[in-house]
Chain length 305, copies 4
């Protein structure tokens, strides 16, 4: 049995040096270190790589990490909430703002500011978003598949840092099962006053299940839980495959019984994750753990080259 090695901090260490020292610690430190080992294996070997994205990651500053992972070839399938794609589009022409989580919300409304914890979005950003979206929504009425619809939007964005644009450039399908639950959905509703633009709600399953049937080995990194987590995991249910590597970065706990906080072990009972899978759940704020994980892993990949 291995013993706990007390961390020793020296000035100037790299993130990966810190993560490696966490290897023989307890609690979250060890989980994060195990996650880095799993992610290194996922990105350096022949895995089909899923990334799921919930929580307000883009407004919080995590957008370019995602688009960079896509452009480096480290994402094969992205499953996301609609909101993250809305804010990805806003970042193409405008900004989110450093705000105050304690501000008076009635005053903010008066000033035309919407709050996402300690991040602000101005009404003017939403006006511009509306204009841009009406320009890039497809002229054809469809029905489109969800991923086709998002690929079209992405292909029309000019900002190469955009997640949607990067995914479109790299032929990475983006699945957003609750696309109607976002301002993209509301803009589609507006367009539908004019012509009957439509997205087929079930078509993404066709596409994702086919991908799952054809994977050899599969790995998944989940940021948060929610629909993205469930949709990616359930896609394995109708195939003989399951995930071989799985990481979740989350603030949800198993004790409440919900899917977002469910352990990855629970997913083994469903057959979504292999009983031999390597897995790690890192509890905490993903705006801290996600950059750390990616930073350590990219460092390792570079050293392997």
């Amino acid at each position: 049995m291995d013993y706990i090695r007390q961390i020793e901090i020296k000035p100037g260490i790299e993130t990966d040096q810190l993560i490696r020292m966490m290897d023989h610690c307890g609690f979250g430190a060890r989980r994060l270190s195990e996650a880095a080992d799993i992610y290194e294996e996922m990105l350096s070997e022949d895995y089909t790589k899923f990334l799921t994205l919930a929580g307000a990651m883009v407004p919080a500053g995590m957008r370019n990490i995602v688009s960079d992972l896509i452009r480096r070839g480290h994402v094969d399938i992205l499953v996301t909430t609609g909101a993250n794609m809305v804010h990805d589009i806003i970042e193409c022409f405008g900004h989110h703002w450093v705000g105050d989580s304690e501000a008076c919300d009635a005053d903010l409304r008066e000033e035309g500011v919407s709050r996402i914890y300690d991040v602000y979005v101005g009404d003017e950003e939403f006006v511009q978003f509306e204009e841009l979206l009406q320009n890039i929504l497809p002229d054809e009425t469809g029905p489109f598949s969800g991923s086709e619809f998002l690929r079209i939007l992405g292909s029309k964005l000019e900002d190469k840092k955009s997640i949607l644009r990067s995914a479109s450039d790299c032929d990475v399908p983006v699945f957003c099962p609750a696309i109607s639950d976002s301002m993209i959905g509301l803009q589609a509703w507006l367009r539908r006053q004019v012509n009957k633009l439509s997205v087929d709600a079930f078509s993404d399953i066709d596409e994702l299940v086919e991908i799952c049937y054809n994977v050899d080995k599969a790995g998944i990194l989940m940021i948060g839980g929610g629909v993205p987590k469930n949709f990616a995991l359930q896609s394995m249910l109708v195939t003989p495959k399951s995930f071989d590597l799985a990481i979740q970065l989350t603030a949800d706990h198993p004790e409440w019984g919900g899917l977002s906080g469910a352990t990855l072990s629970e997913a083994v009972s469903w057959g979504k994750i292999s009983s031999q899978a390597k897995q790690s759940v890192v509890y905490g704020d993903a705006t801290i753990t996600f950059p750390l994980l990616v930073s350590a892993t990219l460092t390792r990949l570079q050293k392997r080259m």
Copy 2:
């Protein structure tokens, strides 16, 4: 200023007596008591009543509370995850089982058991679910709106305790923006191997926005967060209306920045909830707080009659 009155417990008290004593307490007790006051107003006066349902509430035993609320006329719009509707259908013919949150998940898979924290579902239930669903899926190919699709399923269920059947009986629209993210979605995918059954992803917005335009006063009870919370709240964004009463029962915290844990005050900055709204967030396990809240409120309504 009012002072804290220490609770005095006597044997045999009713749930509403307990909730009323919590009125002058601190922390969660006071929040729950305020939630009961708000819910009493919502159900006894002329509000359009939204209920949103996330988390595994049906497997945990909360299904008949929801269907009973619908049949009593206390729900005008239901927004839900797909999973809760899957498990609602399973309860029409079978059971969920009292399980063990510490069981070995690899063994459970061997035995054909899927685990939801401390609740089990057997593979046989899913086989029967598949048979039933293939029978009640519409023969027409659509495209259906999401709520129309769920109304058809509900109308074909025989169990009057079913949430979907109750909603269908009572003309309560059920919105499930991420319907593809559920076993109903997977069954639709199976059917689509035969004929091109489809649901239009954006059609629910048409219907829900129209409802929101026409509300006089609106109230919302949210169980958990996720897509149901966001979809119900965002529907107000494109109308001049906003929610006047709002309750959330949740285990998520605001400090992580995600929508599920966002305060109802944050929704004021977006214009989703009125700055004059009465609101209460009760933190904890909704399998405890939801039955308590409903029990106290129904008691009050009966006494008003």
Copy 3:
């Protein structure tokens, strides 16, 4: 195997009826129901009954539940934080106030108000507390044992609803291992400017270990974690005994690794709790779960009579 029975709510039900329906539910509902079964056994059979009290339970309105349990003979040993005893003494002559968790704390300080989440205490209460305490502090200098010191304070309080007075009246020892970490400690420091009042930090262990050696069967109800939880559990370490019944009501989670959130199963590995013990951890806000648990249990005890 037992199946999940969906809860059915009727107006006017008693708290115990609700808790009993939770028996065949999942998640927190079942845990609470199991806790009630355990607490009923603990209070109705021949167990030595420990109660531990952390978190600001007294300011939040839970004080009289505790003192009532003591007077009914349902507590044999109380382990508490110092703060709860400070606020118990304040309630003897004054009040805590219904406050606002969103208030401006700098303004509150200007106004002489100290905030405990959404409960306020006025500077005048602390002035009166100081006067009262200087009157009831023992004239002798000691060294006292901790429980002896608190018994003296309790015996001099006039309010029979007081926890300290009730414990003194009923010969229930009160242990507060971190007594210096409270305003009682600060008042003792003031007195020590005059005479060398002292409490022997280790004497409580002598007394508690002797109690533990002599228990036949032992049960424990823990409100929150912290020092009270640890001190009560560790007292079994040096004896051949261990707890046979254990309940924890807590908002802490095991995943962070701390003692407060540690599972009761973890305590089995230490020998603090018997491997055959019946135990239940109920997650959530104890200002909701504690009154519910006590209410249901007192109802059951009355029906047994």
Copy 4:
């Protein structure tokens, strides 16, 4: 107003580079970055520096970070739980072990292993701990002050990596208000069967209040909450001073109302923290955030030299 700058990760970056990029992010990332700015100011300017330590930080591998901070002169006062000092002493001669949070606790007891989440301690470590402690407990009976008692223990430890030894070497007082609530307390109890070793429970207040009276500017870093947080903060109550800089790394949330999760703003209403103080609360697992914070800050200090 400043805008959110999306993080860009390059391989090989230092921890401080990452933390600096978090400066213009949202949520936990920004809080951590602000904490680093505060800690840099605290360590580089003329502040009296408090460190409080709760949670099982030593078993999890954080011990040498603490002792190194002490030896570098970055801690003037340490307030800790007893357990962390017990495990600090164990590390002087033995080890904690990399364990499994899912292990069967009854089996572990059979094997003589005590579990702290995913860290193990063997019975043999506790036997050796007992022998060592009986050797280093003072022969005099006291009464000692708490900090004097711990200074004696520390001075007799040979391991210079020890927190207690480092504090003793550097004349840093260690306060442990609940010293009886630990295995050090149990060993003192054993000794007391022979001679009346005693610690005066209130003496630490004398010492700490005097320190607080004499501070010019004061800063505090709190790992977790509990007694260490409260004791350090309350010490300012009886002085005209208050903390000017404050950081808390915690997994507790304010919504439950307890002191451990209370915001630092709440402490402003009490006068413990100055209303002009710079403060930051970082939510998450301190085994991740504490090493990160220290690593970034030490890097900055080195660059200033």
